[in-house]
Subunit: 524 residues, 2 copies
């Protein structure tokens, strides 16, 4: 019998207090994998919380340089163990090693770690404001233990123990308790082993990063409600997110959620005419990337009805039919996709192509295009916004511009919204009306570009209005801004100079830091 | 029979749809005032929400200069009507015209309006980040109608229709629906008349500021849950705040709350020895200001037990006994204070002086000093943190430094925390331990200074950990940072230059604006 894997708690790999276990599956073969991983109970959570509390206090006195070194060493460890990571993640997720895991996701993960290191070292993320006359000084500082729930769809880059939320929380000076996703526990273990090595080498507290593999819902809710937790990050389903949100907010804890998004694409008449079939190719590239299991995967395409729209529908359906159907992450993902496609059909959508599970053993669904008219959408706007997470897209054809705008007004909050228009100004009048609505419906507005690439830029917003996220003022991607989710505003009023944090003294701690002093931004 | 006052809805003074009314009281005489004001029902809320929705859209296209002019004209209107405002507020609140209303609160209110105007005009509050290489640009922008619930204790400076929350929301580009406090409706009417005149002169949408006087709790909860509302600000009691918080968060709306705070003052041994009686005077000045009805009024004083502490207790009790007891804002405030003092006594506090209502007609309570030992506090820490809002203070004497630290560890979140220490370094070791704990318990840490003056500085934090507020990352005072509560992060990815907001184009809209371009802060 295989031993159950150890959890990473309080700086050591220790047996879970729980005697329950689970196994991951290979979504390509549909078979269970050998390794046993624990479903932790409250005893593991409690031990992690105790260790995190002590680590939070130590981290308040840990120099930024040490935190930065931890993040950089972590990135190097990932690179040193890339082969094992890629192979393991490939088995657990079905995501291709190349071009996805090796060429995109692992470099993204190490880049995030290094950007987090640079932000921690440099310190400008703290938004330091110094009013010398009043002798009042403030900045953002870490707030305490952060619990990160990672999603199923990015085994590295959004993993609770290695992804953007972990980086942001640690770079801001907080310890992290990661709840890995149970679909890729062996990958998470390898990541956590890299974290462990980096903690040892860097000198950060050994409970800076801890990891549990799986929890019952009840313990998850108890965990986010615990007085020792300062903040929570969650990426996953709307249902799970809303339960955690209610539990956390009931006890006054900030929780940052990324829950669901249809990422509407509006194709204006001039763009349809100018680009035609090329748009169908671009759409298929984006909608089918990762079998449509990206947070920013377009689920909704909107056009005006007419011959150009019909041509696009035909060309896009053709693309869907000729391209292979990607592997879905789990049997639950497959049945969920099927159920949601059927819910959309029940709400009035017509199946243009696809719409059914494909024969196994692979977890796989036919590339799916659904259609509704704008009028149908307006009759049933809520039901037609069910997110079919995977390789399914709904095309909405509006009778005219006014109906298109009305449809947009009925959209829920999204991460992204995109408008394609003609290269000249013929679409500009309609663009204005469309963008006016979309700006209130999405965190990121794009032109002439698919939303699935979420650049690691300081200007990025991977956020948006509820229910895409829980708060429209924060982003999960884009260092250093993403750090602010895990920080408290701290103010020092008339505090004696030698007692101030180094960043708030008259003399800057180093030459690179930007601070706002008496109303002007000053470097160093 | 006096007519019932009109509400300010959709740019006009109109009769409330409700037929219910209320009267304010003069807390100095304990008598009802003549004017009748409406208790609005849902019909008034609905009309205000419709108008606010339209105003929000118009404000997105209103130049910052016009918004700035509105705020400045509003300030000038207040100054032009100062005599009426001061007289009316004095009658409704019992707060003295001088030195309070005239010399402190009205200037504070006009200063806030002018700071908000400057922030709107200048635009750096938007935290513009431009990544030219990736062509991604982001900034904070208004998010839609904001409902502001003003408190009882600052008829001008925190009034829903004229105070800091209104200024921040409007300066960020949002319309405001103000729910005035029913203890000072005539004052709120005068303020709203000034707002009305300023709206007319400035050219902002006439529903930029709307005002209702009073609502049933049920309608208040419905209002914050309405899909047309984008965000909410509330200053008031913890009980009311928590109800609104639950209602708003259930539907995913950001709500910013300022609910309660004991504002602990720690007097270290060296300070007690050095300053002695002077500390008693400073404490009495701060604790009795506004009859103790400030958000930052110290409710908790902590020292080490010993002869110096006894001397301070005697000197402070003396101060309390010899100073007049201020007028409380309402009969409800008086009975609440009495009930909470009795709750503290039931939890183990000893009455040193005061502890009872004074004979009327004035709403008045004896200046009250309570005492507990550190051991008693630890036995009953939650019950001994009931906020007795008014002129009551509890002195906690800890047996030794370790117990003092333990008491501090049991504190809930506060707006402020303050440490007095000797002028030399004799208290420094203990200071470190004390400050280490207090930094996690309060939004603003002070040295050698009472917390009741909340300077209008960009470095100010008038916020703090739950339950002092609902989120530790935001401040209600301190422009421009306070504007961020009422903003969404908006990102533009590959958007064509002529379609970008002026602030996000390559060329700055004007020479004064700070923007972060390719990693560096640049002016203009």
């Amino acid at each position: 019998m295989t031993a159950v894997a150890a959890v990473l708690v309080a700086g050591s790999w220790r047996a879970s207090h729980s005697n329950r276990s689970f196994q991951a599956e290979n979504p390509v073969t549909g078979t269970k994998l050998d390794d046993l991983f624990p479903v932790s109970g409250w005893a593991d959570c409690d031990a992690a919380l105790e260790a995190a509390t002590a680590a939070a206090q130590q981290l308040r006195h840990t120099p930024p340089e040490v935190i930065a070194r931890f993040l950089e060493l972590y990135a190097s460890e990932l690179e040193a163990h890339a082969d094992a990571l890629l192979a393991t993640a490939n088995v657990e997720t079905g995501l291709p090693v190349s071009p996805r895991l090796k060429d995109v996701e692992l470099p993204r993960t190490t880049t995030q770690l290094r950007q987090g290191a640079a932000a921690a070292r440099e310190g400008s993320w703290r938004q330091i404001v110094i009013d010398r006359k009043a002798n009042i000084r403030s900045y953002y500082a870490g707030l305490g233990p952060v619990v990160v729930f990672g999603p199923n769809n990015f085994p590295f880059a959004f993993n609770g123990v290695a992804g953007g939320d972990m980086v942001a929380a640690v770079a801001a000076g907080n310890p992290v308790i990661a709840k890995a996703h149970p679909l890729h526990p062996a990958t998470s273990r390898l990541l956590a082993e890299c974290a462990y090595a980096a903690m040892q080498q860097s000198g950060v507290p050994m409970a800076t990063v801890q990891m549990l593999y799986h929890l019952d819902n009840e313990d998850g809710l108890r965990l986010v409600s615990d007085p020792r937790v300062a903040a929570i990050a969650f990426t996953g389903s709307r249902k799970g997110g809303l339960h955690l949100k209610a539990a956390a907010e009931r006890v006054g804890k900030p929780i940052y959620l990324e829950m669901s998004s249809l990422n509407p694409i509006v194709l204006l008449p001039g763009a349809l005419q100018e680009k035609g079939a090329q748009l169908a190719t671009e759409l298929a590239d984006s909608c089918l990337a990762g079998a449509g299991q990206f947070c920013t995967s377009p689920n909704l395409i909107l056009t005006l009805a007419g011959e150009d729209a019909e041509q696009l529908a035909r060309a896009y359906a053709e693309q869907m039919e000729k391209r292979p159907s990607g592997t879905l992450l789990s049997t639950g993902g497959l049945s969920g996709l099927d159920a949601n496609v059927r819910a959309l059909v029940a709400a009035g959508a017509e199946v243009v192509t696809g719409g059914k599970p494909l024969d196994g053993p692979r977890y796989c669904y036919s590339n799916t295009l659904l259609r509704v008219t704008g009028a149908q959408f307006l009759e049933n706007a809520e039901a037609l916004q069910v997110e079919a997470f995977g390789n399914a897209t709904t095309l909405v054809t509006a009778a005219d511009a006014a109906q298109l705008i009305e449809v947009l007004q009925h959209l829920e909050g999204n991460l992204t919204a995109c408008v394609y228009s003609s290269s000249d100004s013929t679409d500009d009048a309609l663009y204005r009306d469309v963008a006016e609505v979309l700006r209130t419906k999405a965190g990121r507005l794009l032109n002439d570009k698919m939303p699935t690439g979420v650049a690691l830029s300081p200007a990025m917003n991977h956020g948006g209005p509820y229910p895409a996220t829980g708060h429209p003022g924060f982003t999960a991607v884009g260092i250093p801004r993403s750090l602010l989710r895990f920080a408290a505003l701290q103010c020092f009023d008339n505090v004696r100079p030698h007692r101030l944090p180094a960043e708030l003294r008259d003399d800057a701690p180093h030459a690179e830091i930007w601070r706002q002093i008496d109303g002007a931004w000053v470097k160093g």
